[in-house]
Each structure stands twice: as C-alpha cells, then as structure tokens.
C-alpha cells in the first residue's frame, strides 16, 4: 500500500514537473523583443562626448534609455497605463533627467547611467501646463513646474520644494509657459483668449511677485504653439490671420503693446490653413536663448530668422524642407534641416545657427521606406570632432513609428519598429515549401486539379523532378562540406525573405502582426527578424482590425492569402486589404466595396476554385457580401445556403440573434435571445477556434466506462456583468448558447463576482477568471460539458439534432495572483494534454496544466479517482516558478497570447504580445516525439555495433565448434 502511494506520488510529480527550461536551453528557441512605444520626448546625453545614451519618453508611459550606437535598451521604466502614468515633460541636465508624471502629479529625478530613481516629489493637484529648468548664475539649480493655478519651484538635487505660489487671476487667465534666462527671475506667461497676454515675474529666491503686467493681444488664440522666447527675453509670437510677427521685451516696463512686424515686409507668407510654428533654442537653461529661430510657414517650408538690434532678418530660407531642428555641442549651435532629394530619399544638412551657412560635408542621405510613412520628427545629436568641427547623427521618427538612427553619409546605424509596441491582432502562417519540395508537390497538386495528362509527360515530369531533387541534395551536401571547414561562428544563417522555407517539423512560421498604427509586419518566428513591413496609410486611430487567413500555404502554386478587415469603430464602415502573408505584397485581387457598416464576418469552409476560403461579410441591413464572389462560389453558396447560419451580438440592447442564409444571399432571422440590459450587460462572446482538434471523444472513468464529451463546435460562451456594482449584489453571468439554434445550453451566475472576466472556450470546457468581490481575490472556474455515458449520434454532430441537454460539471479555485490574459495551448492533433497560458501583470507567463482545472477533482480520494489520475481537490491553485515559460524574460503589459500548432504533436508555438513580444515553444506533455538534446548517440550506436559484432563472432565460433564436433 505504501509503495503504491510512493509510486503514485512519483508518477504524478513526474507528470506535473514539465515546461521548465534548462539553463543551456535559454534563447535556443525563444526570443524577446522590447519596445518603448511612440516617442514623445527624446534627448541625447550631451553631458560627455563619449556618452551613448539617448533618453526617450513615450506615449506608452515608458521612460527609457537607449544605446545610441546599437539601439538596444540600457534600461526602461514602465509606468502605469492611462493618464496616471502619462509623462508630461522630460528635462535633462547633466546626469539627471527630470520627469513630470501623471498630469503634474509627480516630479521625479532619474540618474541616467543606471536608471535609478534619485528623488520623487508629490506635487499639489492641478492640471499640468509646463515645466522648465531654472538656472542662477550659470548653474542650473531648480526646476519649476507650472500648474493651472500655481507655480512651484523645486531643488534639482533633492527635489525639496523651495516655494509654491498661486497665480493671480488663474480662473480667467490661461497660464501656459515658463521662461527664465538665468538672471534670477522666472516669467510666467499666460493669456486671456482674444484679449491680452499676462506676464508675471517671480523672484527665484522666495517666489515674490516682482512685476505683473498685461499686454494687449486681441489676435491671440494659443500661447503654447505660436510663441517662443528668443534672445535675452523677447517674446515672439506669430499669427496666421494677421500674417504678422509680434515682439515684446519681457522685462521692459514701458512697452504696453506688442510690436507688429508684417511678414510681408520679410517677403514671407504663411500657407493658408496652416498654423505657423516657431522653434527657438535655449542651449543652457541658465542663459538666455539664442537670437536665431525657425519659422515654419507651411508643412514643407522652414525659414531660419535672426533677431538683431530689434530687427528680424532672414538668415536662410529652406524651401522645400520637411523638418528642422537645433542641436548644441559645446558652444556651437547648429541647425539640421531635412530637404527632399528625390521621390524616395531626403537629404539632411547641417547649418551653423548664427550665420545660416552650410557646413561642408555634412550631408546625410535618408532613404524613405516605400512601404513606410513620412518622417515627422527629427532629433539631432551634435558632437565636436577632434578638429573642432561639428559632427552629428540624427534620429528620424516616421508616421509609422519607425525610429531610424543615421550617421554620415547616410548609413543606418539602427532601426527600431516601435509600432510593434501596440500589436492588435496576429496570425501565424506556414512558410512555403522549398523549390524542390514545391516541384514534387506541384506534380501531385495537378493531379488533384483534375488536369489529365498523358503517360509520357507524367513520366518525364517525374524524372525531371527527381533530377532536381538529386541536384538539390548534392548542393546541400556540398554546402555542408564547405561549411564544416569554416569556424563555427562565421557560419550564420541569415534569414532573408528569399531563403525562407518550411523546416522539417514546421516549427518556423511567419508571424503576421497588425499594429494599432496600421503597420503590418511579417516576422520570422524563429529569430524575430522583421522580414517585411507594410504601412497602411489613412488608418483612423480608433480602427478595429480583423485578420483572416483565407488561403494557407498548402495550395501551391496559389500563393497564401490573408485578408485584413479594417473597420472604423464609430461608423462601422470598413474596407478590406488583401495581401500575401509571406512577402507582404498587396494582392491585386479586386475586393468588394463595403458601402455599409459591417456587423459580422464569417469564414466558411467552402473554397473557390483557387482554394481560397470564402469570407462572408454581413452589413447592417443583414445583406451578405461574399469574398471572393466568383460564379463558382455563388453556386456553392446557393447549394449550401440552408446550412449556413450566423449570429449577431448587439451588446447595447443585450440582443443575440441568429440568422440563416437564403439562396439569394439575403438572410432571415431565425432566433433571438434578449438579455435585459437593465440587469446585466454582455461583455464578451467567444466561440471555439476553428483549427482546434479534439483527439479523444470521451474520458475513460475509473470503472472503465466512458464519459462522452459534449463537443458542440457551434457553442458560444457569452459572458455578462451585472449593472449593479454593489459588492454583495454584483454577479457575472455565463451563458452557453448554441450559435445555430439559439438554444441556451447552460446558464449560470457567479455571485458576488465582477470583471474583468478572462476566459478560454475550447473542446468541451470553459475556463473563466473573475474577481470575487466578497473575498477580494481572483478565482478560476471551470465548466465541463458531457453528453453522458452514451453518445446521441456518434457519427456526426448537428446542432439541429441534439435534443438532450448536456451534463454540466463545474468547480472553482482560488488563484493567488491577478491576471492579464488567458489562452490555451493548441497542438496539431489534440493528443497532447492541454495547458492554460496565464499572462500575469508581473510579466510572467504561467503554463498551468488543465489537469488542475478539472471539475471532476474529487473531495475524497477513492480507488476510482486514483485510477483516473485525478488530483484531489484543493481550493487554491498552485503557482510554481518552474511553470513560468519565460523564466526571466518578462513581457511588460501582456495584452494577448497567440498559440499555434506546429508540425510536431508535442510542440505548441506561443507568441505573447504587449509592450514586448516574446516567442517560445511549449511542450505540455514534454517532448514525447523528439529525442532529447543530450541524447547519447555514441552510446546507443556503440552498443548496437558491439552486439552486432558479438553476434557475428559468436556465430562464427559456434560454427567452428559444430564443425569440430562433427569431425570428432
């Protein structure tokens, strides 16, 4: 008995301890890419010449330091999502970077070399307006933060507040800017729209108001964008309507009006409808800004101007020019200007700021990606060369969020695809076969295509393909021989789009990723290399994307085909983008126009003569558009119309309705379920994955009988949340509805629970996670559906003919951690046991055996439950660190997990995306179909050979012995 327990314990623990990675396996089949998001502020560390640091703050609330030589991250701080962690301003002085976070809630100072927090100060409430470094006598000592109604001054080295002052008349005046020229005064600039500008002067020492004046400015609409302070405290503003520049010395008392300078007098004109932009530069916060400034008159026209002796004079006109930026190194300030060169390239040149003269040999050619967006930001890093001339590097940010770092004469040092920080949806597509494999495949493929050939051509075809195979094999051998002589390190398999081919076990696939900015990526799943990218222009920021694989790679010579449905969230209007997922090229197939909002899409198993699956798009008048819509497809649709059903969900009315396709591609309403919105609202509806296989129809019980699973492929899981959010009365509703008949198969409420609910719906089970508001903890619940001991109809499943409701078993568990996302592993044939992949906010991905989520886990162990390998029920779900599939490669802000089967039954490919992207393989039942990495080939072959020779020798000896005996 005791031995039985021990054996059981051994076998169970062997079953459980899976998935952990050995140290030498790290990075072998997994990779991680880290991103920061769309850059809002970028500053180069100019503190020392050798510095490689580039500080960025992004719209993803990330503050990071990049290595400007390689583009890698030195360190990264990921703050809270949403407005709470929003980075308002980034200032840098020396080794310190000062960041204002959360609409002026926090002021933080970071040490830039290692990214350590030096100090943090909590600021008073009030919406953030501006922040500036304040210098006194050539030393930057303070940082000033301007709020809507107050200004505060903080010490730069300790963060302690020096003083805080309320702003006068803050309810009428909009204060927007701070300026200090290092002369012991801080100017706060505000304005009353269409009336006047207010200038308040504070003394740095104690915050005393020295002076307050208002200046007439009836044309003023915004201070922030159209004004700048230049050359020892002159406020300069530009106005589009009056086509004028206005100038005012801040300190002088006698001026009560701004001096107007018509742009006409400078021979300048602002393009109609364009808000002109003034760009000035203040290289040292303790000194006044330079007298030179850029004025942007139209999207591609900049001009460098100078204020000298109260006169504004143009230094150089850049027409056309896309972008312009100042940079300072030492005492020298330069201006970099990007001008278009030809259709595909731009040139960037350096000009000295004070004269506007071009520096010689400073051209950088920037080649624009034809599949990318236009450049929209330019960051310049200037440095002094040994001969005291100014050298520079630039970072260009484009509309599609690509960061390109260039150096002279146009070499791309590195590139970062920051659009990948916001992946919306993805698919994995098999890679194409190699040429030789395709050759063979083509031979058989034609047979399937019912093209009759004569005997002789077939034989010739076969011979030629065999010859090509032989040739390829020879070439392969030659390559092996050739590579064997080279040292290991130089043999590098560069992945390019031309060398892509499917590997033996289909472990390498193409990851097609769709990002929120409308850029599509094709990434090699083995190495993480971006193989192609395509930027889709004019994508609204609130678009919904749905990616559909219409034709896989399996139908050579037809190329694989993916369709992306881009839908506007507000109007529902959509369009289709069809492309080849392997090469990223747009397909030339004509796509149907979608004049009406699309409600639902449906990928049918029906294929057209080119092996593309048919996509049905249902519009708001319940009319159906088929894509592709050839005659063949329409014929097939007519034949099968009565068995094509689809459902629509209207969560605003709580209505679920089912429709059937008619012969003429119109639809008819056949069922309706209405969940009153006063009580609960539908938050999510999920069916099962179409490519999922279930190997076993039932479960063998302890008494050798079979409990059959209820495997309804049309089953929908509908999750609702109560409108009442009181912790005692709130609940989560779970409805299992048949998508064809509208029959509610199961209906349950989880009391005292609330969302967010994460769930996985697969096979015959549903796993969901909710927040228990009574006990304040996360809980897992699993629902399994069984038909019982007998199958109603074992040959085929039809929703229309399955009258008996299934048996439902349910069990719940405590999960001791919050959850970001949930997904289940998926394998080719469904033989391998399933694991749940749980994305935790800590960035770890937990691979939880489904075995732990089994509603048949018994309270008390019996002989039968032991026979079935059921684990005794324990209310708390364990979290073991060896279950983390990504060891220390945490993924920030996990948003989704994508699983795909590989050619090996034991292996499931996993991609985790969020701020970072992590790809790995998991083996839920261990690698039962693969020999181990450290398999001892030498031992097994020596044993084999040894046995073989031993047999030979003993046979020979036996023969001799027999012969001898015969002679005797």
């Amino acid at each position: 008995m005791a031995w039985l327990v021990v054996r059981l314990a051994i076998s169970l623990s062997l079953l459980y301890t899976a998935s952990a990675v050995f140290e030498d396996q790290v990075g072998k089949f997994d990779w991680r890419e880290q991103f920061v998001g769309k850059v809002r502020f970028a500053l180069f560390d100019t503190h020392s010449q050798a510095s490689k640091k580039l500080l960025v703050a992004t719209d993803k609330n990330v503050f990071a330091s990049l290595n400007s030589r390689t583009g890698d991250l030195f360190w990264r701080h990921v703050d809270k999502t949403g407005p709470e962690g929003h980075i308002d301003a980034l200032l840098m002085y020396g080794q310190d970077a000062v960041v204002v976070v959360g609409n002026g809630r926090l002021l933080r100072s970071w040490e830039t070399t290692v990214g350590g927090l030096k100090w943090e100060a909590v600021l008073d409430t009030g919406s953030f307006q501006a922040a500036a470094l304040i210098g006194v006598q050539d030393f930057v000592k303070y940082v000033a933060v301007l709020k809507k109604s107050a200004i505060s001054l903080h010490d730069l080295s300790s963060g302690s507040q020096i003083w805080v002052e309320n702003l006068p008349d803050s309810d009428t005046v909009q204060y927007q800017t701070i300026y200090s020229g290092g002369n012991g005064l801080v100017f706060v600039l505000g304005f009353v729209p269409s009336s006047h500008i207010v200038i308040v002067e504070y003394k740095i020492e104690d915050g005393e108001i020295m002076k307050k004046k208002s200046v007439e400015a009836a044309w003023m609409s915004s201070l922030e964008n159209s004004c700048a302070v230049i050359s020892s405290g002159n406020l300069l503003c530009v106005d589009q309507i009056t086509q004028s520049l206005y100038i005012l010395p801040l300190q002088s008392a006698e001026h009560t009006e701004m001096r107007q300078i018509h742009l006409q007098t400078l021979d300048l004109e602002v393009a109609s409808g364009f808000q002109p932009v003034l760009t000035s530069t203040q290289p040292n916060p303790a000194q006044p800004p330079l007298a030179e400034f850029f004025l942007q008159l139209s999207p591609d026209h900049h001009i460098l101007l100078q204020l000298k002796d109260d006169l504004i004079a143009p230094l150089r006109d850049f027409n056309p020019s896309y972008l312009a930026a100042f940079a300072t190194s030492g005492e020298k300030t330069v201006a970099a200007v990007m001008t278009p060169k030809n259709e595909t390239a731009c040139s960037i040149n350096l000009f000295s700021a004070d004269t506007g003269r071009r520096h010689l040999d400073t051209t950088i050619i920037y080649h624009m990606d034809p599949n990318g967006g236009k450049p929209n930001r330019l960051y310049v890093h200037a440095f002094l060369k040994k001969d005291d001339s100014v050298g520079y590097r630039v970072m260009v940010q484009t509309e599609d969020l690509t960061l390109t770092f260039l150096q002279q004469p146009g070499r791309v040092v590195w590139m970062r695809e920051e659009a990948l920080a916001d992946v919306v949806t993805m698919e994995m597509v098999d890679l194409p076969l190699t040429g030789t494999q395709a050759e063979l495949e083509g031979e058989f493929g034609k047979k399937a295509g019912k093209v009759q050939h004569g005997l002789l051509p077939m034989v010739l075809k076969r011979l030629s393909s065999q010859f090509i195979l032989l040739q390829a094999w020879m070439a392969h051998l030659w390559k092996l021989f050739y590579d064997a002589r080279k040292p290991r390190s130089s043999v590098k398999n560069e992945v390019t789009i031309d060398t892509l081919s499917r590997d033996e076990f289909n472990l390498q696939k193409m990851m097609v990723m769709v990002t929120a900015s409308g850029k599509l990526f094709g990434i090699d799943s083995k190495s993480g290399t971006v193989l192609w990218k395509q930027y889709l222009e004019d994508i609204q920021p609130n678009s919904i994307f749905k990616l559909i694989v219409q034709r896989t790679t399996a139908h050579f010579p037809h190329p694989p085909q993916c369709t992306l449905l881009i839908k506007n969230k507000d109007t529902g209007l959509g369009r289709l983008y069809v492309f080849n997922p392997i090469f990223g090229k747009k397909s030339h197939i004509s796509v149907p126009a979608l004049p009406r909002p699309v409600l639902q899409t449906l990928l049918l198993p029906v294929i057209d003569q080119d092996y593309a699956k048919v996509l049905l798009l249902i519009d708001d008048q319940y009319k159906v558009t088929a894509f592709p819509s050839t005659k063949n497809v329409l014929q097939q649709l007519q034949d099968t119309a009565s068995s094509i059903f689809f459902y629509l969900v209207d969560s605003s009315q709580g209505k679920l309705s089912g429709f059937r396709l008619r012969m003429d591609l119109s639809t008819e309403l056949i069922w309706e379920v209405v969940i009153p919105t006063e009580v609960q609202k539908i938050v999510a509806v999920k069916g099962k994955r179409a490519n999922e296989h279930v190997h076993s129809q039932g479960r063998v019980m302890g008494d050798r009988s079979v409990l059959y699973k209820y495997l309804n492929p049309n089953l929908l899981a509908v999750i609702t949340e109560s409108t009442d959010i009181h912790q005692e009365r709130s609940f989560v509703g779970i409805f299992l509805i048949d998508g064809v008949t509208g029959r509610i198969v199961h209906e349950a409420v989880q009391r005292k629970a609330k969302g967010p609910v994460h769930f996985v719906h697969s096979e015959n089970w549903l796993v969901y996670v909710y927040w228990n508001s009574k006990f304040r903890r996360n809980e897992f619940s699993v629902l399994e559906l069984f038909e019982g001991a007998e199958l109603y109809n074992s040959t085929v499943f039809s929703s229309l003919d399955r009258p008996h409701p299934p048996q439902v078993l349910q069990q719940s568990y405590i999960f001791p951690a919050p959850i970001s996302t949930l997904e289940a592993t998926l394998t080719e044939k469904g033989i391998t046991s399933r694991h749940l992949l749980v994305g935790l906010p800590s960035g770890n991905i937990l691979s939880l055996p489904k075995m732990f989520l089994d509603p048949r886990r018994p309270e008390l162990i019996s002989e039968q439950s032991r026979e079935e390998n059921l684990i005794p029920y324990a209310p708390e779900m364990p979290i073991r660190t060896e279950w983390f599939i990504n060891y220390n490669q945490t993924v920030s802000r996990v948003r989704g997990i994508y699983t795909a089967p590989s050619g090996l039954e034991s292996t499931c490919l996993v991609v985790v995306y969020g701020l970072d992207i992590y790809q790995t393989r998991v083996f839920p039942s261990k690698q039962f179909d693969v020999l181990k990495d450290d398999y001892d080939y030498v031992l097994i072959s020596s044993v084999l050979f040894g046995l073989f020779f031993a047999t030979m020798i003993s046979k020979r000896l036996a023969e001799v012995k027999l012969l001898n005996r015969a002679w005797r």
Binding site: T741, E747, A748
Partner: protein, 257 residues
C-alpha cells in the same frame, strides 16, 4: 395598449371549448434568485405563438397560452389548441420542403410584482425543423430561460427524437395534439472555491495522524530498511544512471508531503 390586446386574445382563447391541458412543466430546480419577494398565487399568462409557412416568411399565429403560476416554484402550464386540418396539411407541406417551425413569446418578467412594469416591446424566438416536429408526432420540449431577476431571456424548442429521416407520417391523428413538455429554467449558481470542507478534511487528517503514533513516524523512519539497500544499490550501479536516481529522489521527497 399592446398588452391589452394580448390579454383580450388570451381571454378569447380561454373561452374556447377546445381547450387542452397538456403535460405540466417540471418545477424549476434552480433556486429562487434575486431578493425573494412574497408573491401571491394569482399567476398570469402570456401567449405562445407559432409560425410555419411554405414561403418561410414568418406569420405568427396563436398556439397556446403559457400559464405562469407565480410563487416560489415558478410552475408553468401550457394550454394549447389542437391543430386544425388546414394547419396539419400546411405542417406536412412545410416539412416536405424542409421549412422551419418557429415559436415566439413576448419578453416578460416572471416575477408577479413586476407585472405592472412589464412591457411587451419585443419577442424572443426559436425554431426547430418542421420535419423533425412532424416525425416526432408533435412531441416537443419547450424550455423558457430566465435571468437572475426573472426576465424571460430565451426560449428553446427541441423535438424528441430530433432527427429528420424522411419517415412518412400517415396517421392524421398524430399531428393533432401537441405532446409538449414545458419548463422554466433559471440560472444555476456557480460554485465558489470550497475552502471550509477542505480545511475540515485537513484537520481530520491531522487528527487521525495524531491518534495513530505509528503514522507519525517519518517516511524514512518507517522505510529505512528498504531505502538504504536501494540507495546502496544505486550508488554501486555507477554514474551512468545518475540523472534517473536524482529524479527519483526528488519525486520521493515530493511524495512525502
């Protein structure tokens, strides 16, 4: 206004002589959910309508009346008419072309105290293939689903058997009377993690262990005579098998807990 019309319809149905009380519904096994309110037993009824047309364009007619008996048990009865000669023929024709047999009920709340605020603003519908209804000799199972506060959210109809084999139904009598099983199903309460029984069980085990001093002995104390030779054997058998031995030992420790 609409409710009035419905009520008058029901009254007219009730007054007809061909009133048939079919099998009554099972009591709801789910608990009475929401804040339990004491209700009177007056009950109320809603019309059940059906439609079966050759052209498959739904035209709903009255099939019967659902009688809800308020109170704790959510009992429901279905009073329905016989199918007329014409209907029977239509039904057979619809079955022949594989048409649909649809039913619908208005959206109502089953809580009697909510009747006043009840609005019949829409219907919930379901269907079954007409042929399966014919072949099952009008034996159908209708289930009304309610949400936590007693609103009817869905209706489902299945026939037993549910298949369409193309069997000709000869006897006209078989298509006269519905053999209906009707029930109301409320959502079941999903289980929560059962901590109390688990802790109790653990305590019992601890107690058991405490009572039996033999059990208190540690794993090694009990089985040292087996383990020592095993370990010795493993050590003798050389380094080749080291990984297997390590795994076994780790598992043994795991089992000891």
């Amino acid at each position: 206004m609409a409710t009035k019309r419905v009520l008058s319809l029901i009254l007219s149905v009730l007054s007809t002589i061909t009133l048939l009380w079919t099998q009554f519904g099972e009591c709801n096994n789910g608990r009475r959910l929401g804040d339990a309110v004491d209700t009177d037993f007056s009950g109320f009824s809603v019309p059940l309508e059906h439609s079966f047309e050759i052209d498959d364009f739904p035209r709903f007619r009255l099939r019967g009346a659902l009688q809800f008996r308020g109170g704790r048990e959510n009992g429901v009865y279905l009073a329905q008419n016989q199918l007329s000669e014409k209907d029977r023929n239509t039904m057979k024709d619809v079955a022949a072309v594989d048409g649909l047999y649809r039913i619908r009920v208005p959206r109502v709340s089953l809580q009697v105290d909510r009747q006043t605020e009840r609005q019949s603003e829409g219907y919930i519908t379901a269907f079954v293939r007409a042929c399966s209804l014919v072949e099952s000799h009008l034996s159908d199972v209708i289930t009304l689903h309610t949400d936590v506060s007693g609103n009817v959210i869905g209706i489902s109809i299945v026939t037993i058997p549910g298949s369409c084999r193309g069997i000709e139904v000869e006897d006209e009598v078989d298509l006269e009377v519905f053999n209906t099983t009707i029930s109301v199903v409320a959502p079941v309460t999903a289980p929560v993690p059962e901590t109390a029984p688990y802790i109790e069980r653990m305590e019992q085990e601890m107690e058991k262990k405490g009572k039996n001093p033999q059990e208190q002995k540690s794993f090694f104390a009990k089985y040292w005579m087996y383990i020592v030779p095993l370990v010795l054997f493993l050590m003798m058998s050389g380094a080749q098998d080291q990984s297997g031995g390590g795994a076994g030992g780790g598992a043994g420790n795991g089992g000891g807990r």
